[in-house]
Symmetry: C2
Subunit: 408 residues, 2 copies
């Protein structure tokens, strides 16, 4: 595997500490590598939590653990393991998660269900319990670390650390929202998963936090794809410590709630797009906007059909203005579409409308657009008001090299 | 593009002439190439026809033309154009198909609806009518050609000609079924489509021929995938001249009907597998068998989820016994599955059962199996009786080279 940083990487932003959260990263040693691979975050009492997890029918025991704890809405600790996803490991995997939660709970004095666990890495190998327990013990006494160190410690084949920040005003208080994420394929080579963690000092009711996270997820994490493959371990958790001292938000009727929801959505979108920017082998960042569909859901399905098409992705990699492949991907999506109403745009150039190429189509501006790192494809189905935007990357020799030129 | 023949190629079989069918191939000149690219087949009166076409919502005018003519059940001619699919070309594309049918109909004295047309190649460029008409005129007076020449003339980026044969006994007659096919991606680079044509001298009612073809399609052409992309032009047509003199078949109750149906299914399966063997960049032929699903449809969806997973396909390319990626692909299929009942086999070796790796799993026989050209993956969901088998190829640098290292 290459150590080369993605050409689409962006610098890690300046991100403030969040009152009520302390983080530490240590080397548990899940693999024979010289880097941190266990992250511990501790939260003050009263912290709310919400989360979204993979839709896989074969979820990891970590995912099941988090799902069971989420309805309680409270959290005191988060442990993230990198290098072993612990997925598809049966009772042994479950025992490892329980051991981690019990160890932290005993140390800080809380319920095991107050401890959230997430793991990323190879599938099918039980997480070694002594390694995890020793790592947790070390993290409990380790010095506090910053967000960039956390972003690095949760990563696997990521080529750069990924973080995002936004702020919102609630009444007379300004609250901070920061997030870190890892992921560079829906599953990276033998190293699974998108894991994202969002931290805010705002005071928010956990049910309302969940509601806002669901909405943000629908326009961010659920609208990205690298290779169409879905991890067994995908998890995004949001933690709200309440230390900003704002009047707690419990519904969209509360002053500042919409501003917070917008800032949370902004952080989610930034994080999601960073995952695409670190897509395995990516050389182009691609935005696909579908309008005129019969519904938003239909638009999203069509947009993802385009985004997941190997032929569209290789055409973009080759800077080839091959809009016929977009027609193909619309046609195969299984959603309502009428060939003779279809319009397609590359960048700002209309290439096809009414079921055929536009009169006097000039490929030059399209070719110029495709030479850039950011590519935009627009499709109008001409049927209704449904709309969606998704993001993906191109499919290159780099993807094959990472995923095939490799032995487990 | 490479001229290298697929390492999975098989020799073209010896295939007999079919009484009542005459074929000719000529160079119409749809591209600047030195090869035949227009095929004309003429059928004696009384020939029955059946067909299946793409499920794309953006079908080519050829597909629409064939769909309109199929219910009539009769055919006198077939024209196949290679190098231009004529798809997504609006009224111009429709005019080209109508011009070809009219030209042939006027020459041989039949209805335009007795003339079937199929085209494969670039999307979005109207088929040039003068070129097509001149090609048809030349084909009408050209010497008769054999099946291998037909297989070559209908091909685009295929690396070898593909044909299949089977025989069946109906009463006291032995009937022949031969077929040719082209396709090396669901869409090849700028050159679309799977086109298959099956010819038999059996006498068969067109409705029953359609019924048998639908059944065969469900276990052959609908069970293969190279890249999950669906062409705008996929078409398989079956022609039955009746010259064998058998008592015409009209239902499964007729003597010999089941034998014929089995032989037709055999030809379809052979042709479908040949397309996989010419998959773009393929170095491995992969059979994926899913058992224990809640239904056959569910099994097929899960099998295609595995077959279309870029991570499974790259793992096979890398001869990597990465069975965790199979778990992932089962999990993402959206069909009923229970992680803790899942069993996975590579070749004849059980690698996982009951939701985790088998006790004492030895990777050596799996690694040896993966070094071969033919790879078998078995999944048992442990839920029901649903079963399906699909075929695909691996995903290699060759696929990227063909589809990205290329400008239109």
């Amino acid at each position: 595997m290459s150590d080369a940083v993605s050409p689409l990487a962006t610098p890690f932003p300046a991100m403030p500490a969040i009152a009520g959260v302390r983080t530490a990263t240590v080397r548990a040693g899940y693999k024979a590598w010289d880097r941190t691979d266990l992250t511990l975050a501790l939260f003050d009492e009263g912290t709310a939590v919400a989360g979204v997890t993979t839709q896989s029918r074969c979820p990891s025991p970590e995912v099941e653990w988090c799902r069971a704890a989420l309805p309680l809405g409270r959290v005191r600790a988060l442990v993230v393991n990198a290098g072993n996803s612990n997925a598809f490991t049966g009772h042994r995997g479950r025992a490892a998660v329980e051991a981690i939660a019990a160890r932290v709970a005993a140390s800080i004095g809380c319920q095991p269900s107050d401890v959230f666990v997430a793991s990323t890495g190879v599938i099918g190998v039980p997480l070694p319990i002594p390694t995890a327990e020793a790592g947790v013990d070390a993290a409990l006494v380790a010095p506090e670390t910053g967000w960039e160190a956390v972003a690095a410690a949760i990563s696997t084949t990521d080529t750069f650390p990924k973080g995002a920040i936004a702020r919102a005003v609630i009444g007379d208080r300004t609250v901070n929202i920061v997030g870190v994420i890892k992921g560079s394929g829906m599953i990276a080579p033998d190293m699974a998963t998108m894991l994202g963690f969002i931290f805010t000092d705002a005071a928010i009711d956990p049910l309302f936090l969940q509601q806002m996270l669901n909405a943000a997820n629908g326009r961010s994490f659920s609208c990205i794809t690298v290779d169409g493959d879905t991890s067994t371990s995908d998890t995004v958790l949001a933690f709200a410590t309440g230390k900003a001292g704002n009047a707690p938000l419990a519904s969209h009727d509360d002053a500042g709630a919409d501003a917070f929801a917008a800032a949370l959505a902004d952080v989610c979108l930034q994080l999601a797009q960073l995952v695409v920017r670190d897509g395995e082998g990516a050389s182009k960042f691609i935005e696909i906007e579908v309008a005129g569909a019969e519904s938003d859901d239909s638009a999203r399905t069509i947009a993802l059909s385009i985004a997941n098409s190997p032929l569209v992705k290789t055409a973009i990699a080759g800077e080839d203005a091959n809009w016929g492949r977009v027609v193909m991907a619309v046609g195969k999506a299984g959603e309502p579409a009428e060939r003779d109403r279809l319009a397609i745009r590359f960048g700002d150039t209309q290439v096809a409308a009414g079921g055929l190429a536009v009169e006097g189509y000039d490929e030059a501006p399209v070719a110029a657009h495709l030479k850039g790192q950011d590519v935009r494809i627009g499709v109008d189905l001409g049927l209704g008001e449904g709309h969606a935007t998704v993001w993906t990357c191109d499919l290159t020799h780099g993807y094959i090299s990472i995923n095939a030129d490799y032995r487990s």
